[in-house]
Point group: C2
Chain length 367, copies 2
């Protein structure tokens, strides 16, 4: 991979490389360390200990000003009026057709100030365009904020040692303000794994290494390691990835995100008509969980068609991994409505590697 | 680099890899082959022969409908009313503060239909937001269009052999519609080098390999090679790269793009007040060309400060390369207005590698 000034450097990048990051992705035009040693070893460590993740590429979009709530309501079908100051909400953002633009965690910093902690698309440009077009009295910009995730079952102990025992009381999807390593941060109980932990929102990118070093040093007694969003763990946990499992061509009902939207919320929002229509007609397709038979498969590099029993194309796989927990290939797939019932048998054509698969419930447990 | 469904595959990617692409970048969330053999060998080949470039990542934003011209005018200080159907215009897009959002080539496909052939940012989202906010009667979307560039001094001969002698008459920054390799394309005389050539806008991504193979086969007699936007050639030619040499924090006057804007154009546009103000006050800084003394330097991976003779920071380098033509390090740098006169001596601190440098004219020739 060739890097240039166009591709931004994370404040933690140096530490990630020193600790053996061997493969990177790019996310919001910033480096994202993806692999240390292997997905499998990192998964096993994450399940038992605590890891520091360089997720600075999870950039923030700040919306601040008298019309901040009105604008934030407008761009999502989630009811933002229910979000207290100090709270976070996972919220799909949707355009006027219901297409998902991004799926950030929204942090409410003040009555009239929000951060969208975003997946990989230039949400800032979209929101700026809407604010300009509507003439809203807000500022929309990307602040200098770079999250460091502390994930794993020992994250609470590590955070208590570094910041104080009161951090054990931070509720899920709430955050507090602190000064850590001499620099102001927000600490949220959140993160892109099912193993618990925090995201620390650094607000001065020149202080990344000090922040990393503090958690790294204290973390030695908890067997702290470097880590990254883990493909195996995130699919087992049911976390969907924007750009892979959902795109602008997907609405949040198809993406199985019903519990994160409030179609009948009071505030004005862009995709109301589109979602009401989907609700009335029923979705034509849906993102489901699959077990795929046989040994481990090659990584996905293109769409893999999903075929019905009579050989017709009825969908496509969106993410796939070999699960260490279930000891089989697990996948998400977008499948036409007649074929989404748990227990349905389908066929996957993985560039010539043809496999049988079965639809599971969204908790994997059963067909 | 780890690839997934989130990062899109170019229709030419297979051919690029088969022909020895060894380093890739990501651009608009799509792979961009950057290096075959070396920048130097590719440069020498480009200066003499003809190359096929996989630039599918130069995505299109289509704006179509009754308000298409009004919307396209709104987002750029360039006068789009002067763009005829069949013509292309290079146009910085700017927000209401004058900040550059992108610098596409705009193709006028019809009176009420445009493509923005974009650099690396989600322009589609920004334009969608503005269109929604203003209630314009347009559709804004990314069509299935993937440019293949044919660049180099023998590009005219190759195009004439493949498509017909009439392609020699395509004027600079105009395009025609053709059917090539059995699929409809637009052929523009344009491209991101100073060596001449075309961009072929494929409109069916399933046909990329056929298109490549046709030009590749016929091109054998012209010593056709695989290629890519070349860092050496583009800086020697004076081509600025969005994200490196200009960003949302740069206005088009600072970016030395005055000849591509019409501040007093008739149509409404977002950044009029901002640019009028810059014109009145004079720009506070400007992108200039530099010669940097000494041997070749390490690649840039962070901002390199530019210091005045008294050691004060007066700017930063935005792109840098060893020039084969001038046999010295050449660079673009954003420098405070008092230090931009050709001939001014400055100092570059390249992460400890301290060098003397001199401001050149924007054609490099002289101080």
């Amino acid at each position: 991979m060739i890097l240039s000034r166009r591709l931004r450097k994370s404040p933690y990048e140096k530490r990630a490389i020193e600790n053996g990051a061997s493969f990177f992705s790019l996310y919001n035009k910033m480096t994202l360390p993806m692999v240390y040693e292997s997905y499998e070893k990192s998964y096993e460590h994450l399940c038992k200990h605590v890891q520091l993740w360089d997720v600075a590429c999870q950039r923030q979009v700040e919306i601040v000003g008298p019309d901040a709530l009105r604008l934030t309501e407008l761009i999502t079908p989630r009811d933002i009026s229910k979000c207290a100051v100090g709270q976070c909400l996972y919220a799909p953002l949707c355009d006027e057709y219901g297409g998902i633009i991004n799926d950030p965690i929204i942090l409410r910093l003040a009555e009239d100030r929000f951060w969208l902690s975003i997946a990989d698309s230039d949400v800032c440009l979209w929101v700026k365009g809407i604010a300009y077009g509507r003439g809203f009295d807000v500022k929309v910009f990307e602040p200098d904020v770079s999250p460091l995730a502390i994930q794993g079952p020992k994250a609470d102990d590590l955070m208590a040692d570094v910041v104080g025992a009161h951090t054990r009381d931070i509720r899920f999807f709430w955050f507090i303000d602190e000064t850590v390593a001499g620099t102001p941060v927000k600490i949220a109980r959140s993160g892109w794994s099912g193993k618990g932990g925090f995201e620390v929102y650094l607000q001065d990118s020149s202080r990344g290494e000090e922040l990393w070093d503090l958690f790294w040093g204290v973390g030695q007694k908890y067997n702290v390691g470097p880590g990254a969003p883990n493909l195996i763990e995130r699919i087992e946990t049911g976390l969907k990835s924007y750009g892979a499992d959902m795109t602008i061509d997907t609405n949040p009902i198809e993406a199985a995100l019903e519990c994160y939207i409030d179609i009948d919320k009071e505030a004005e929002y862009m995709c109301r008509d589109a979602l009401v229509s989907v609700r009335e007609k029923g979705e034509s397709r849906r993102l489901v969980n699959l077990f795929i038979d046989g040994e481990d498969m090659a990584p996905m590099r293109s769409d893999w068609p999903v075929l019905s029993e009579n050989g017709a194309k009825v969908g496509f796989v969106t993410s796939k991994v070999w699960s260490l927990k279930y000891e089989t290939n697990i996948a998400f797939a977008m499948i036409d409505a007649p074929h989404i019932r748990p227990g349905t048998r389908v066929t996957i054509d993985a560039e010539g590697d043809v496999r049988s698969a079965v639809v599971r419930t969204d908790r994997w447990e059963s067909t």
